[in-house]
């Protein structure tokens, strides 16, 4: 009888070990998350595997470690999608550029990836896209954000507890699943990142449908659940503290930091306005400006500049086609601008220039006038775009009803 059990056990061990070994080998060969250096080619361009998009936080943490950029772009999906690799490389020819932006990120994550990058890379310039929702203190980091993966802890000390992503990337159901999808060609090759962290292209969306979908998410959840506050969920911190830490670290390491408030579409500002968050939005801008000024003094350095691309311009008031077949030139939805616009704003930031009502550099002298101007522009926009304003109102009414 014991012999039966012995044979059963031997089979169990051999079969399990074989399956695990084959799975591991297969995942290493396919490298579905692009962490073992396998580069895929698409239309003659080096790209990451499609699985990289699904494990963006891991992929970009490792990408920064491997590529050690001198120029880094950070921020949310707006910054992740909104810049073209080629134009950015042209601006910084000869330097290693990486786009470390993460979708649905908050300012804490931006800080943590900035710290990670500073610890691992010879950073010279960093461009950070600022978004109002990132400062909502109750929005927690996504599940796949892992502190231990980053080179330093939040106090900027080397993190002793490093996550070994080998198990997740070689011996996991996710890795096997994506390896099979990549190997069989079943994965989505349209939604991929280049090996320098930039999005390959941005021709998605740009119709009323994509606008409504995006606005609904902001109205139903991002801005409202829970109620918007700058206090963190443990009530111990203020999200501006993380912003302050970014500035302090940059001053300390003499890294050139450029902030810009993302140029979302005017309908996005209408969402903020109709949700009753306008005062907080203005406070957010004022407070960030104050902090950049305050933090420059101890280091006897110039304050980092904030370019404000939010507001009402010929770009942000681009007509939203109500016919689904038509596509917009500057926007994918009311949150995300396209690379055509991203390239323009990058030029303004690098050259310290602006257009009227677009990309103004905030200062203590102009902040009141600037905010007043945006308020006035909003009134004008509401009169001239009644249908768009009504769309937003309807979405908010539906939310309030249920």
């Amino acid at each position: 009888m014991n012999r039966h059990f012995f044979i059963y056990g031997s089979r169990f061990i051999i079969f399990s070990a074989f399956l695990l070994f084959v799975s591991c080998l297969f995942c290493y060969y396919i490298d579905p998350f692009s962490v073992y250096g396998r580069v895929y080619m698409k239309n003659g361009v080096e790209v990451n595997s499609p699985g990289f998009t699904k494990q963006l936080r891991m992929g970009k943490a490792i990408g920064i470690m491997q590529r050690k950029p001198e120029v880094l772009i950070m921020g949310s999906s707006r910054s992740a999608f909104g810049f073209s690799s080629q134009v950015t490389k042209d601006y910084f020819s000869g330097q290693k550029v990486y786009n470390g932006s993460l979708s649905a990120t908050n300012i804490y994550e931006v800080l943590r990836y900035f710290q990670h990058s500073v610890a691992l890379s010879p950073l010279k310039q960093v461009f950070i896209g600022l978004d109002f929702y990132q400062f909502h203190g109750q929005i927690s980091s996504p599940k796949n954000f892992r502190e231990e993966r980053l080179a330093v802890d939040v106090n900027n000390q080397p993190s002793g507890n490093k996550v070994n992503d080998s198990l997740a990337t070689l011996l996991s159901g996710d890795a096997l699943f994506y390896s099979i999808k990549v190997a069989t060609g079943l994965c989505n090759w349209d939604d991929i990142y280049l090996i320098n962290g930039f999005k390959e292209r941005d021709d998605r969306g740009g119709s009323l449908n994509s606008f409504i979908k995006s606005e609904k998410a902001y109205i139903d959840k991002t801005y409202t659940i829970p109620e918007f506050t700058f206090r963190t969920s443990d009530d111990k911190k203020n999200t501006f503290d993380y912003f302050r830490q970014i500035i302090q670290l940059a001053h300390e390491k003499r890294i050139e930091l450029h902030f810009f408030i993302s140029p979302s579409h005017a309908r996005q500002w209408e969402v903020i306005g109709q949700l009753g968050l306008w005062d907080k939005w203005e406070y957010w801008k004022r407070e960030m400006l104050n902090i950049t000024q305050q933090e420059a003094q101890p280091y006897s350095q110039s304050a980092f500049l904030i370019h404000d691309f939010s507001g009402y311009s010929t770009y942000s008031t681009e007509m939203v086609p109500r016919i689904d077949e038509m596509r917009m030139h500057w926007y994918s939805d009311s949150s995300h601008y396209k690379q055509a616009l991203g390239d323009i704003i990058l030029g303004h930031i690098i050259n310290n220039t602006s257009e009227e009502s677009f990309g103004r550099i905030l200062s203590t002298q102009n902040i009141n006038d600037h905010l007043q101007l945006i308020r006035a522009d909003r009134e004008q926009y509401r009169h001239s775009h009644e249908q768009g304003t009504a769309d937003i109102k309807k979405l908010i009414d539906v939310r309030n009803e249920y």
Partner: protein
Amino acid sequence: MLFNSYEFIFVFLPIVLFGFYAIGSKSHHRTAIAWLVGASLFFYGWWNPAYLSIMLISMLFNYAVGTVLSGKDKSKLLLISSIVINLGALAYYKYFNFFIDNLNSLASTNFNVEKIFLPLAISFFTFQQIAYLVDTYRGETREYNFLSYCLFVTFFPQLIAGPIVHHREMLPQFAKDSLYKLSYRHLIIGLTIFTLGFFKKAVLADGTSDYVSSTFTLAETSAQITFFAAWAGSFCYALQLYFDFSGYSDMAIGLARMFGIILPMNFNSPYKSLSITAFWRSWHMTLSRFLRDYLYIPLGGNRKGKTRQLINLMLTMVLGGLWHGAGWNFALWGFLHGAFLVLHNIWIRLAQHWHLKLNILFAWWLTFSVVLFAWVPFRAETLDGTFNLWRGMLGINGFFLPKWMAKYASNSGSWFSEHHIAFVGIFHQLGPVKFIDILWFVVLAFIIFYMPNTQQFMQRYRPVFELSKMYKVDISKISWRPTLAWSFMISFLFVYATLSLTRISEFLYFQF
């Protein structure tokens, strides 16, 4: 260290098994026990070494008291004092913050107490030792050596979340010589039970967590959860909790069996129950047994009249609820189950008197529905969240119906909106629900309602004590045997579960 972690499965467990049998096979039985105690303390200390001292002090204290109580001078005062000290420690670590918070809000006082961290498994090892003390006082225990006692308390398979074992079941097993000799039979039976539990925990339970958290997170906001979303959320949680906890119990039972130790049954397909009483005989059975033997019966059980019996039932369940955690939600959960049990008790009497009988399907539906209803406070963070979901379950928050039904309602639009009915998709509030996810839940429901449970699959090989309590089904043709087909199937489940380990989440029962 989690059972469902690489370090436990591929490092800790093989080393401990090897050490135990290497030492035991050379007839160094006491050393083998010491090895297991050492390994168990290491396992416990892995989370937080500071907790170790609390457990060690508790163990030394209770063994010393037990030794005195087993002598000629059986002092009732000593027994009562030692129980008070045990419960005092439990109350301090588990309930003190809760008590102070409530005192502050009721009496408008402002006592500021630091957050006291709950030592892991304190409820489990405290209860096991109280039972030991009571039985020692009653003269129902033999004289056990300290090392065996330590293993009884710390044995790592059941230390963290049960099954709550009884000294009568455990200590005699440590004394058997056969235990220390490697038995492929025990090893393989244990490995198979462990793998079934591992699969339940890592694949089946964790696969439901997204839907559960989205519903219960939403419940804590101002959003009004509608009828179908509320029931779906509670249903998903019922599945998650069952697979999580019964999976954990299977893993514990399997691990113990690898060392030749048989543990008591903890789950017996509870969602197949046809009454709430039957549910409690098959859900967390070792806790029910403990509450019955050391709370309900000492309170008088059913010996002091019908009314007193119902009061005892209610009291036992409320305290049982609070055992799970310091919070009004747990008390409410216990109260609800107490009330259901009382009602069922009354129903039985009426049914006997009037010769009434419920339709089986209706009895099952009613039992499962009230269990789902009661899971809400168990999972919700706050009472507000609980009431929000309950309002949803009762239809007060309205109904979302499939979009395609809108065309049938176009003429009565205002009536529908007045009655909080909208055609936006029944699970609209839970975000996009994919067909594959619905299919997944159907499979899970099939497993829970129709498939045999682990003990039934393993019934030929005495997987647990008290097999007689198991639902009787004839599955002799598909029950487990050490065959080629089963070895491949169990290997496949093991590999599947191992590959699912990247989404490590802690056992839900750890907080208790």
